[in-house]
Subunit: 206 residues, 2 copies
Amino acid sequence: MATNEAPDIVVGRLPIYLRALTIMAEEGQEITSSQELSKKLGISSAQIRKDLSHFGEFGKQGTGYEIAYLRDQLKRILHVERTWPVALVGYGDLGTALANYAGFAPKGFEIVAVFDSAQDKVGQQIAGKEVLDLTEFPAVVRERDIKVAIVAVPSSAAQEVAGILVESGIKAILNYAPINISVPAEVQVQYIDPAAHLQHMTYYLE
Amino acid sequence: MATNEAPDIVVGRLPIYLRALTIMAEEGQEITSSQELSKKLGISSAQIRKDLSHFGEFGKQGTGYEIAYLRDQLKRILHVERTWPVALVGYGDLGTALANYAGFAPKGFEIVAVFDSAQDKVGQQIAGKEVLDLTEFPAVVRERDIKVAIVAVPSSAAQEVAGILVESGIKAILNYAPINISVPAEVQVQYIDPAAHLQHMTYYLE
């Protein structure tokens, strides 16, 4: 049922649906509707139904969506019914916060290796892992079959780090540095841009 | 020309357009098109034109968009032609990283006050500011007319902190804690959810 034709912008909404469904399931709710999801998420119910229709027939006319079923289907579609090992580059304040972040495990990700190029950081322990020298990145990524990496280095180093990641076979990069990085088309990049979220909200403020 | 009728999901794309236009302007480019923006952003050109049409007539048939003009209009629409003072709550690793983050100032935000409830943190200096006791939050927010706050506290404290923020008159909250917080309808909340960005990318991975 799943196709590769869904626009990227639709794919980007699936994690938002998955988050809402996961919370509802944890609260013991069994059935929802596109109308209820719409109210929770600020996305029109027509849009939600259209988005989901790219991937299959999940709702039943008149009864809505089975939450646990739709949640599991979205996990499958997003490939997070498994846990992805993740490499983290940058052991500064942000890297430390990310290594300790509790939000990855429930969503299918585990930071398994932390890298930095500063020799005074290499060898330190963080969240049960040793900080490794960035020169070890290619070998570790190959050995542990890591495809996903997080970049938490200063802007001035982000492009060079991205190059090392790509050469090592990383296929998905989450970039916290406030600059655009250039990678080959087959490598996914997403940006954490807190200022964009703030701008979204100031639209509504006087 | 601006209306309040634009769907929230459209508003959420304006910062993405603004980011792209800002980069293009910095690179010296003067004119762009919905087609070029589409290629850069992975959003269809029809969608981009439709999104922008909610706010006015920015493009000229056959000549595209004047980058600097459209950038300035989007800044005006998002209310970031000014700089918003921002309160940061939570002076842990993440809070430290945010206080030092270089990405806020160019986008219309300045962290002017940092708060924590841990007495060993209160009084420390970060990025030229003193860490204040959370009990001082209401007075400082009133005095400095702060409407925007960032929550970088553990999940267990996030809801309580959100309550203090709302009571103090904060109207927009950026929440880094991996839990949903409950606030009155007139208060905006956005979430930083790095796992959602990772899920977006693993959709494309085998």
